[in-house]
Amino acid sequence: MKILIVGCGRVGSSLARTMLGDGHEVSCLDEDPDSHSRLELGLESSWEDEGGQFTVGTGLEIDALLTAGIEDADVFVASTDGDNTNIVIAQIALRRFEVETVIARILDPYRAEWYEQQGVRTICPTRVAIEMLESDLRRIAGGSEHQAAQGDG
């Protein structure tokens, strides 16, 4: 599978390494040339030697997307640090390049929900954190009246 990841921060770079290790073709696009070194954390040779691709540019630049290989990508991941950028580039991948699977990281749960309805697969870290905290706190507060009343304890 060919995976294009735009935004090579902690999330994007870690995902890229794992997917490359799983044997997929991985291409990364980031506007910061220094983010390349984050890809190589823990690798024995360079990102390119391991078979990865890296392009400097933003997801709004069509030329950069083409260089990064968007036309052959099976999966497009928008994982920059900006919600708005992720939402825009995910829609470019979906509508203009018709990439089969498009996933965007959106921090704002309310917007994540709406764009999910518009056909963009979204991962909302805020939502995940809220759910984990809620379930953890409920476990700690286990047996309380509130929980008993809800019947989900």
């Binding site: 630049e61 900006g82 708005n84 950028t85 825009v88 829609q91 509508r95 709406w114």
Partner: protein, 246 residues
């Protein structure tokens, strides 16, 4: 703008454009709320606009809702960030069914993304200034004043060249391409609406409304030969240049 009276408008981004625009709209009698995400800028603008400016990031839905987007009939996004302007207008149109949206494009290269997501009309200051330059330095022969691509209609401003075949001819005798109408002539600084008896002079500036497909035909017929003659010798280069008859 009288026909807009009574409408509720949201303006997003209290930079120079947003602030001045809001002030003009309020003076024209409209109900307007301006939204600004930067606290310091908000406090500055708030001294003048008071309750009509709201602090918050308009790309978050709850901020738009608190600003009353559900009853807004127009949303104008003029922040310095194209992604913000694009998404605010997209959400306004698609989620809240706002009738009219206007987006500012900061980087003209991003226009294609506004088209892709169906956000229009958009305004680009860079493009407006480029058009003014085209007007002052007419190496392209014509200036696009209005393009309604979907409606297949445009209005152009064209100069009648010195040696053009239409010089000293009556408008009624012109052999204009089908789908084109001359709507005004500017001569020696004064404009008028031509009749069939109007005789065209070299140096007249003509406004025409037309189907974009006959643009080249019209340009070559009216025979652009350069406003001051010397432009003819100038290099006609670049992908956007429109040399005569091309």
């Amino acid at each position: 703008m009288a026909e807009l009276g009574g409408d509720y408008m949201l303006v997003v981004g209290a930079g120079k454009v947003g602030w001045n625009l809001t002030r003009e709209l309020i003076e024209a009698g409209h109900e307007v709320t301006l939204i600004e995400a930067d606290r310091e800028r908000y406090l500055t603008v708030e001294q003048e606009l008071e309750h009509r400016v709201l602090y918050g990031d308009a790309s978050e839905l709850w901020v738009l809702e608190r600003a009353g987007i559900r009853r807004a009939s127009m949303v104008i996004a003029v922040t310095g960030d194209d992604e913000d302007n694009l998404l605010i207008c997209q959400v306004a149109k698609d989620k809240y069914n706002v009738d009219r949206v206007i987006a500012r494009v900061n980087n003209p290269r991003n226009r294609q993304h506004f088209d892709l997501l169906g956000v229009k009309p958009y305004v680009s200051a860079t493009d407006l200034i480029l058009r003014l330059i085209e007007r002052e330095v007419p190496r392209y022969g014509l200036v696009h004043l209005l393009d309604l691509a979907d409606a297949k209609i445009e209005i152009i401003d064209l100069l009648i060249g010195d040696g053009a075949v239409v010089v000293d001819k009556r408008v009624g005798d012109l052999d204009l391409p089908k789908g084109c109408l001359l709507i005004s002539v500017v001569r020696e600084g004064a404009g008028f609406v031509p009749t069939a008896d109007t005789v065209l002079h070299a140096g007249d500036e003509v406004l025409a409304v037309l189907d974009p497909s006959v643009e080249d035909e019209l340009t070559s017929y009216l025979g652009f030969t350069g406003r001051r003659g010397r432009e003819q010798d100038a290099q006609l280069g670049g992908p956007d240049s429109r040399p005569p008859g091309n």
